[in-house]
Amino acid sequence: MLEIKDLSKSYKKGTIKAVDGMTFDVKPGEIFGFLGPNGAGKTTTIKMIIGLLNPDSGSIKIKGFDNSIDTIEAKKRIGYVPDNPDVYDKLTGMEYLNFMADVYGVSLEKRQERIEYFLKMFSLEEAATDIIKSYSHGMKQKIVLTGALIHEPDLWILDEPLVGLDPKSAHLLKDLMRKHCEKGNSVFFSTHVLEVAEKLCDRIGIVNKGKLIAIGTLEELKKGDTADSLENIFLELTEK
């Protein structure tokens, strides 16, 4: 579903390597957790996958489409939720969702069905006709999430998706992620909440100082380490 090869990105004329020769893939039907301390290169990697940043070298393929060549095709297959839900605050929630549906070419029937489903699930029915400026952080997060999933993308890319969500919505989102992957799709998400990664992810990648320092299932990560929990593995690996 997602193939990343030798991905690198540096800032300030190469003096700061934000991402350094990263290679990994995310398989169909898989929830992949991307962990790392602050400034490890998680968001930079995500931004390169969705095209907000240009890599210095390396390649990114989404369902076989190279995101620097078949850009539009690659974008069609992604649903992205940023860590900070900056959206057009002068549009109403409904207008934003319709805008996203229009640009992703979602049919009338599909969008009616999906908007209704998500608004109900996130309890946003009443707020949907208000302008986004009046929303709380969590509500913005939910409307961005709905906008990102409205076209039923194959690959969800979520940057810290649980930040700002209330427990009920967080639980619903985790359920959605699982159901999405059961259909053969994939979820790639970054998080600081290790318990979530431990319970939810099929595979985990740990990144530190721009490098992928460990990758595998929780069991695989435990094999090469004496630590018994993901938290301990994470601390041991990132503090080396």
């Binding site: 907000l52 940043l53 095709e73 900056d86 549009l91 319709n98 979602v106 009616q112 006709t129």
Partner: protein, 554 residues
């Protein structure tokens, strides 16, 4: 007091961008040209204002001296500056006291309301010097040198000039603070901005109308404005006494001068203190009155009324919604389109018997009609291009630009939607001026479509140039919409480039008239020249969109 001083220092630092400048000078030298250009622009603008007021004040002084009232020149300067400060002060205070983003972190700090308000007030006084000093300093210098004043005059003059903004700004602050105590800011913020902007527009146009009426008569030069009868000082004194206290305080000698001077200073200090006292009582109450207690009506979502739009239509609609729903964007984007036709109408209505009368006569004469038609074409192009809609088009997206980067719509389609949006706004200006030409200048309806097409092509070229400017270096990092349009250099560059194109087309047309080419040939030449520029422009724009949408990182 220490905290208060620190707060003032912080506010000045933020307002003047001192830390940003330091960072640019030491670390981010690549972008050093930006502040340097802004500074040069500010010095140039300030210098132009200074020269303009100096010439005006000198003429006024000479005339008034002949009438035996030289000190009235000071009264005019003080009153003029005070009026501007009072008028603009209301806007500036509203945005600094109630709409600025730093309040979110200032309010929870253990600071007294008067400290927050006072520090912002002092910072504003420094800003207002930009308006006040070019108006007042020339008068002080001209009067001082002309009347051979001594050291005391200059000291009193300096103190008066520096404290001049206090009274008008304190009055504006008190007015705004009391008003905002009873208005729900959060709910009415946009309405207040639009309302205030329109009031400003009407006052500005009213002043223009008044001046046009004033100079309508014969010998429309400085003498008319300065043939001010002796009652002027009394009139000014009755309407705004501080201007007279300042005048007498500076100009008169001995005890009489000292009496007015200290009266002016005392009232300034008193009003400043009163403002702080009222601020301490009412500032936070007004600021925090944004809670919404009213029961919300449950709105029903109309799923069935949804419409499916093509991506380009959806983007075009997004441009409109975001422009019209942000008062700052709307006023800055559309003011030119609204003001220019109104000014043209005012000129036509107030001066029908003067120069405009001649223009109407010329438009009736087949020999001279071409001048009027080309002049009309020029006004059409000017009206349609006097906006910053296209030149801040990407910048206005700000931090939301990530959405444009991730959606599966090609950069070409995205930039075309912005192009259509810019053209739609220009079209409104062109149609309006065209209608005025039909009504007032008896322009043939048959010739009008020709002018329309050429004007539309011209505004399309200008829109393309504006979009290219914003594509090269969009200002996406802003927290306040003002920054996206008012302090965005792309708007200024856009206007300069528009003027460049306008100058080129004017010289081209005048050249053709001088060489006595036939009317149809001039139009055809303009059409084909525009067509070539338009095709090249679109080609460059689309190529650049592909490249820049990919390379702009966020």
């Amino acid at each position: 007091m220490k905290t208060f001083l620190k707060l003032i220092k912080l506010n000045i630092n933020v307002a003047l961008g001192i830390s940003v400048l330091k960072y640019r000078f030491t670390k981010e030298k690549k972008k050093l040209w930006e502040p340097i250009l802004v500074m040069l622009g500010a010095i140039f603008g300030f210098g132009c204002m200074f020269v303009f007021f100096s010439i005006f004040m000198f003429g006024t002084y000479i005339t008034l001296k002949e009438q035996g009232q030289p000190e009235t020149v000071l009264a005019i300067a003080f009153l003029g500056a005070s009026f501007f400060l009072l008028f603009f002060g209301v806007f500036h205070i509203l945005s600094a006291f109630y709409f600025s983003n730093d309040l979110e972190f200032l309010v929870p700090l253990p600071l007294k309301p008067y400290q927050v308000m006072g520090s912002k007030f002092i910072n504003m006084i420094l800003n207002e010097y930009l308006i006040a000093l070019p108006m007042v300093i020339p008068a002080i210098i001209i009067y001082g040198i002309g009347m051979r004043q001594g050291l005391f005059y200059w000291i009193k003059g300096l103190v008066t000039v520096l404290s001049l903004p206090i009274i008008p700004l304190a009055l504006s602050s008190v007015l705004v603070t009391i008003l905002m105590r009873f208005i729900n800011i959060k709910k009415s913020k946009d309405i207040i901005i639009v309302f205030m902007s329109f009031v400003g527009l009407i006052i500005g146009l009213g002043a223009n109308f008044f001046i046009q009426k004033l100079i309508k008569g014969e010998g429309s030069d400085i003498e008319d404005i300065t043939q001010i009868p002796a009652w002027l000082i009394e009139e000014i004194g009755r309407r705004f006494p501080p201007a007279i206290w300042a005048t007498f305080g500076v100009a008169r000698e001995g005890m009489e001068g000292a009496k007015y001077f200290f009266l002016f200073i005392f009232v300034s200090i008193f009003l400043f203190a009163a403002m702080l006292w009222i601020g301490n009582k009412a500032f936070y109450k007004g600021l925090l009155s944004g809670h919404d207690n009213g029961a919300k009506k449950k709105k029903i979502i109309k799923m069935k009324s949804m419409k499916v739009l093509s991506p380009i239509k959806a983007l075009f609609l997004r441009e409109w919604k975001l422009l019209l729903r942000s008062p700052v964007f709307m006023m800055n984007g559309l003011a030119g389109i609204i003001v220019m036709p109104i000014m043209v109408i005012m000129t036509l209505v107030t001066q029908q018997d003067g120069a405009i009368g001649k223009i109407i006569e010329m438009s009736l004469d087949q020999q001279t009609q071409i001048y009027i038609l080309l002049g009309g074409l020029a006004v059409m192009i000017l009206t349609s291009s006097m906006n910053i809609v296209a030149s801040t088009s990407l910048s206005r997206e700000g931090q939301c630009f990530w959405i444009s980067k991730i959606i599966p719509v090609s950069p070409r389609q995205q930039i075309l939607s912005k192009f259509y949006h810019g053209i739609a706004i220009s079209l409104a200006g062109i149609v309006f001026i065209g209608l005025l030409m039909v009504v007032f200048l008896n322009v043939s309806i048959l010739k009008l479509p020709v002018l329309f097409i050429i004007a539309l092509m011209s505004s399309a070229i200008i829109t393309i140039l504006d979009l290219i400017i914003d594509l090269i270096n969009p200002k996406l990092n802003w927290t306040n919409p003002h920054e996206a349009v008012k302090t965005n250099l792309n708007g200024l560059f856009g206007l300069i480039i528009s003027m460049g194109y306008f100058g080129f087309i004017t010289v081209f047309s005048i050249g053709m008239i001088l060489f006595r080419y036939r009317e149809w040939f001039i139009y055809t030449s303009l059409f084909f020249m525009n067509l070539v520029m338009l095709l090249i422009g679109i080609f460059i724009l689309l190529k650049m969109a592909d490249k820049r949408y990919k390379n702009i990182e966020i």
